[in-house]
């Protein structure tokens, strides 16, 4: 914004005026001083706004395409879809993730039916979780790493230094490692991403599977590289 203003001043001194875009490439189209994030929860929208909320007198950013307040909106699933995107094909990624959830639902329902009809569990409450969204949420939570490894160059050598991470990043890294594992195992035409994702989510829900192994491996490496922790700065 600042750059653009100074540019105007320079160009207005010229004889033939011509707009040259020299605004900073990283600036947002929304001016951070007058735009605030929208409210996306329908229940919150129905309530009156707090008197001290800045949105009473400032502009609100446009609602994003994937943030429509539909009743099935789920933060974890949406983020998983965004992580699984390849070549910008969001609809494809969404289809993959949702069909993985469908597979999970079918399998859990089968297990539930079996549990229901078997004589040795008669009378007990059926403990099989049927909601695939709950399963996916818990599976991703089980895959959260506690730390991350980041390269730090000191004296020409790069050290893998363990760093602490915040919850959103841990969530992202859990999803990313799961996506990489599924993608590596999906062979075109033979095994499909959605099936492997369903397997992996169900395994991670039970604290098993390759993603959990990868997390434990990462923790081990972090433990081994503990000596480099003082390079953090």
């Amino acid at each position: 914004m600042k750059a653009a203003v100074s540019c105007c001043k320079v160009s207005s001194g010229l004889v033939s005026y011509r707009w040259i875009s020299c605004s900073s490439a990283t600036s947002s189209m929304y001016d951070a001083r007058v735009f605030r994030d929208p409210i996306l929860d329908t229940n919150e929208l129905r309530k009156p706004l707090n008197a001290d909320d800045e949105r009473n007198f400032l502009f609100v950013k446009s609602m994003k395409s994937d943030e429509t307040p539909v009743f099935y909106r789920d933060h974890v699933i949406d983020k998983l879809v965004r992580v699984c995107i390849k070549d910008g094909k969001k609809e494809k990624a969404r289809k993959n993730v949702l069909s993985a959830l469908e597979t999970i639902k079918r399998r859990q329902y089968k297990a539930w039916l079996k549990n229901e009809s078997s004589p040795d569990t008669a009378g007990e409450a059926n403990k099989v979780e049927l909601d695939p969204f709950v399963i996916a949420r818990k599976a991703i939570k089980n895959c959260y790493p506690l730390m991350k490894l980041q390269g730090v160059t000191r004296g020409g050598t790069t050290y893998q230094v363990p760093f602490p991470i915040e919850q959103p990043e841990a969530e992202f890294r859990a999803m990313k490692s799961m996506r990489d594992i599924c993608r590596g195992r999906a062979k075109h035409g033979e095994t499909h991403f959605k099936d492997i994702l369903a397997n992996e989510l169900l395994a991670a829900y039970q604290n098993e599977g390759l993603t959990i192994q990868a997390k434990q491996e990462l923790h081990k490496t972090c433990e081994a590289n503990r000596a480099y922790a003082h390079y953090r700065s």
Binding site: A25, Y30, L40, L45, R46, V60, S62, D66, T68, E91
Partner: protein, 378 residues
């Protein structure tokens, strides 16, 4: 040859296998050689694998049932002579008694006891489907393999939906309460201003209930259309807006059924789930789902701009997500105009803000807007 014969029999008896007699007729025609005119006919339609299997199984089942029926009849005659009574006296009760007498058993499970019943009663029923002239199964539920069950399930779903759809407030847009004069005439009694006020309060309370549409017929008896908004002449708002390269003219009609018409396309012609979500967003936020009609047309801004004289105009179409977004902005603006009470929630959810983001121009000496070529020493 066989296939052609099957297809012919199918086309002649349009509902093959609706009864077993139809199936037998099909099997009988299949054994007969087809007419010579059919052999050279290039338009002989192939029948599908599933139908072929079905026909084979159907034929097998008919033959099997016939055999069992004959066996049962023979067995009945033998039994009659064994028991020393005439065949005509041997009804099902007599058969049961005879079997119990001839095969005494100490087993208690009814499945373990011998039975003798007509094959139609005890053998599993063969499910018969109907087919159209082309040899395709009639009704798409054929592919669920249990069409009756799923049909019933679907009916229940439709009924449930109907019941649940009734659980919404009555649609009062486009009409107003009857004036005191008219009410007086309708009731044939004196209506004082106080009485009229009381009636309006009571009516408003009824109409504000969440399931008031159940009584919509009663409510509508005491309402009259607004002066300029009869069924043909509804309240509407028009807006022209854009998103990226897509420009749209959006008209929202009040008191509608929730119909969408975007360049002639309905809501469900948009295959992307996200596009449908975007289109419904303002209606969800304003709580007007299924209560307004949306009509929109779109064009590309860049095609309306003059092109360099030596260049031909590029064919452009509205974007897959920018078209819904442009329509969304237009619908939100129209709803804010038609229903001012929804203005604040529409504004706070960011639907009234014009999305200012555009495609960034690509830079000289770079492959894209931000991307750079890979640096090479030489």
């Amino acid at each position: 040859m066989l296939r052609a014969a099957f297809t012919r029999s199918l086309s002649t008896t349009s509902s093959l296998a609706a009864t077993s007699s139809a199936a037998t007729s099909a099997s009988s025609t299949s054994s007969a050689p087809p007419p010579s005119s059919d052999v050279g006919d290039l338009s002989v339609r192939r029948i599908s694998k599933a139908l072929e299997t079905y026909l084979r199984n159907s034929k097998k089942n008919v033959a099997m049932m016939e055999r069992h029926r004959v066996e049962f009849e023979t067995g009945r005659r033998h039994l009659a002579s064994m028991m020393g009574i005439s065949v005509h006296e041997l009804n099902q009760e007599a058969i049961d008694r005879a079997i119990e007498y001839l095969f005494p058993s100490g087993l208690s499970d009814p499945k373990a006891k011998p039975v003798m019943r007509p094959p139609d009663e005890i053998l599993p029923r063969f499910q018969r489907f109907t087919f159209d002239d082309e040899g395709r199964p009639e009704g798409s539920r054929f592919f669920t393999l249990s069409p009756k069950v799923y049909g019933l399930l679907s009916d229940i779903g439709i009924k449930t939906n109907a019941v649940m759809n009734d659980l919404e407030p009555v649609n009062l847009s486009g009409s107003q309460w009857m004036s005191a004069e008219k009410l007086k005439k309708k009731l044939g009694e004196r209506v004082s201003p106080q009485m009229y006020g009381q009636l309006l309060i009571a009516f408003d309370h009824l109409a504000s209930q969440p399931a008031s549409s159940i009584e919509s017929k009663f409510i509508m008896e005491y309402r009259e259309p607004l002066a300029a908004s009869t069924e043909k002449n509804r309240r509407f708002a028009t807006v022209r807006t854009h998103c990226k390269d897509t420009r749209t003219n959006v008209t929202v009609y009040d008191a509608g059924k929730g119909k969408f018409e975007i360049d002639g396309l309905a809501l469900y012609d948009f295959r992307h789930l996200q596009a449908r979500e975007i289109l419904l967003a303002p209606l969800i936020v304003a709580n007007l789902l299924g209560r307004v009609d949306v009509v929109a047309t779109s064009e590309c801004i860049s095609t309306t701009l003059p092109e360099a004289p030596n260049k031909t105009q590029v064919e452009r179409l509205p974007g897959q997500s920018s078209l819904p977004r442009a329509v969304r902005h237009g619908v939100a603006l129209c709803l804010a105009a038609l229903h001012p009470e929804s203005f604040e929630s529409l504004r706070l959810s960011g639907l009234l803000t014009l999305d200012p983001r555009k495609k960034e121009r690509s830079k000289v000496n770079q492959p894209g807007a931000r991307a750079k070529w890979i640096w090479k020493r030489r």
